[in-house]
Amino acid sequence: MSAQAKFSYRIINENVFAYNVISENSLVNPDNLLQLNELEIVNRFFPVGTFKKNKIRLQAEPKIFLNPLDETLEFAINELYLQYGISDKLYVTFGKKRINWGTANVWNPSNPFLQKDPFRIDNRLEGIVLTDLEYIGANFTLNAIFSPAERLNRSTFAFKVSSEIKSLSYSFSYAFLGDEKQQFGMDFSLGADNLTFYGEGVFRNFSNSRLIDSEGLPEIIGIQNGFKDMNAEFVVGTMLNVLPRTILITEYRYRSDFNTSESIENFKSFLPASLASYDPISMGQHSFFGQISYMDAYSKYNLSTNIFYDLTTNQLLCSPGLVYNGDDFKLEINPFIYDNSLSIYDFQGRVIFSFFL
């Protein structure tokens, strides 16, 4: 049976205005060493096109933006992929595509391909080049992904099997990330009437941390061969429906190979040489995120307060936010208030105006 060809498109335009109050007492950026600007303006276009016919789906999402540094027009591809349904249970995808593994909202350790921007979860991230084979069974879903690199032993192979038992959904994953780097992951999500409890975690035989040793040099953490020597990272969280339109989200992240209270002192002592290890939100082993949000009865206004806190490094960031959703536009207003000597800014104000056509 031949289906009619269907083409749909949408044009998304994002205009980002940021106002920065650069901290005068920052250890990371003394005397504005990084030469940061008080004002930043970024314009981005995402013309998204989707073509569907029979079992074929072709999707393209270019990104066209004005480079704020030299004001030149830049072009990138966020997504460009072809998906073919071999049957209604078996799909194969070729091209560049976003992969979203994991159940957590802010941090996604079990996703070996992409990490969200914690400042803006709704962001349009750049996909990865891959071949994805997906089998959707009656009781489980299986993904096998190959993401090529210039050499086969540097390419990524990843597998995930997902299933559900009543209100518990879960998955197990394995990824070979090239150069002998391996990651074993799992995630779960347990739903109830007013509460969702979720979590995800990984064991890695490598480290993503860039700790500074007592000599001021980046610590080299080699590939671990034994299971007990692996590095662990996990996130647990809850999404609680406090009232029908009020949601409380809390997340805790643990990373075994990140800064302790001792090693963060090495980082501070050797600044600015150690700047490459900097993370504006959280550099320690224990990170917390909390959000309470309220949406009005017409899904137009969304008021929220977001808090990030790192127990080890004492980094604190508070970001109240207001989002207004029109039928074809969205206005996001977010102040960011920092409170730590590691912060680059004392305050940031960001306004994003997006059109959806």
């Binding site: 992969i99 962001n123 009437d193 969205k330």
Partner: protein
């Protein structure tokens, strides 16, 4: 009428209105003081104990998808390619209906009849009680047309017995050798100035969608 009749009436309602396999386009208008504040349009497919909604309009929400897979309710957010599990009692897209109201598949699964069918002002009153606390409302009163047995009005009651929502079946259209509600209004009795109107069009009985269509994995396809 006796208890057997009232149980039969519940099964009749369930079979002909709630658990029917079908496809349709649903328009949802959220009003305040009779002014439309928000309009959504979505393609709905129901099959067995599963239901999927694909939002068509407004532009800002296009391609957002909601799934009841029989055990859980999920929402797929296309901008971030993220899938989130949504609670039953959360307001559906901010309106007067809960997720459970919209994505309910079966009345029989959630409720059981209490007592006999009563005659009230020329209408039949069928009283239902929730089987467990997971259900959004403790009690539901159905007012049915005496002749056709079609629902006219539905009252949802809290544990204390207070009416918290009212559903009015305003219009019917011919469908599958009978009639099906084409316009339904939900009134939140706690917010008197607010109501949500549902309009159903392009109704077709049955669906050729396979079970795979109702899986979380297929939401991004």
């Amino acid at each position: 009428m006796d208890q057997a009749d009232s149980s039969g009436m519940l099964e009749h309602l369930d079979k002909n209105f709630f658990s029917l396999d079908m496809e349709f386009v649903m328009k949802m208008e959220i009003l305040k003081n009779e002014n439309v504040k928000r309009t959504y349009e979505m393609q709905v497919v129901k099959k067995d104990e599963k239901m999927r909604l694909d939002i068509l309009r407004p532009s800002i929400e296009r391609d957002r998808r909601v799934l009841n897979d029989g055990d859980n309710m999920w929402m797929y957010l296309p901008r971030s390619s993220k899938l989130i599990k949504i609670p039953y009692k959360q307001a559906f897209l901010g309106g007067d209906a809960s997720n459970r109201d919209i994505l309910r598949i079966s009345l029989v699964e959630d409720y059981e009849v209490i007592g006999d069918v009563e005659n009230v002002d020329g209408e039949l009153l069928l009283k239902l009680k929730a089987k467990d606390l997971k259900t959004a409302y403790n009690q539901v009163n159905f007012y049915l047309d005496k002749k056709t047995k079609y629902p006219i009005k539905q009252e949802m009651l809290s544990l204390s017995g207070k009416v918290i929502k009212t559903i009015e079946y305003v219009e019917y259209i011919e469908f599958d050798q009978g009639y099906f509600p084409s316009r339904v209004t939900i009134l939140d009795q706690l917010r008197k100035d607010s109501k949500t109107i549902f309009t159903y069009t392009d109704l077709s009985k049955g669906t050729d969608k396979t079970d795979a269509f109702f899986t979380t994995a297929s939401l991004s396809k």
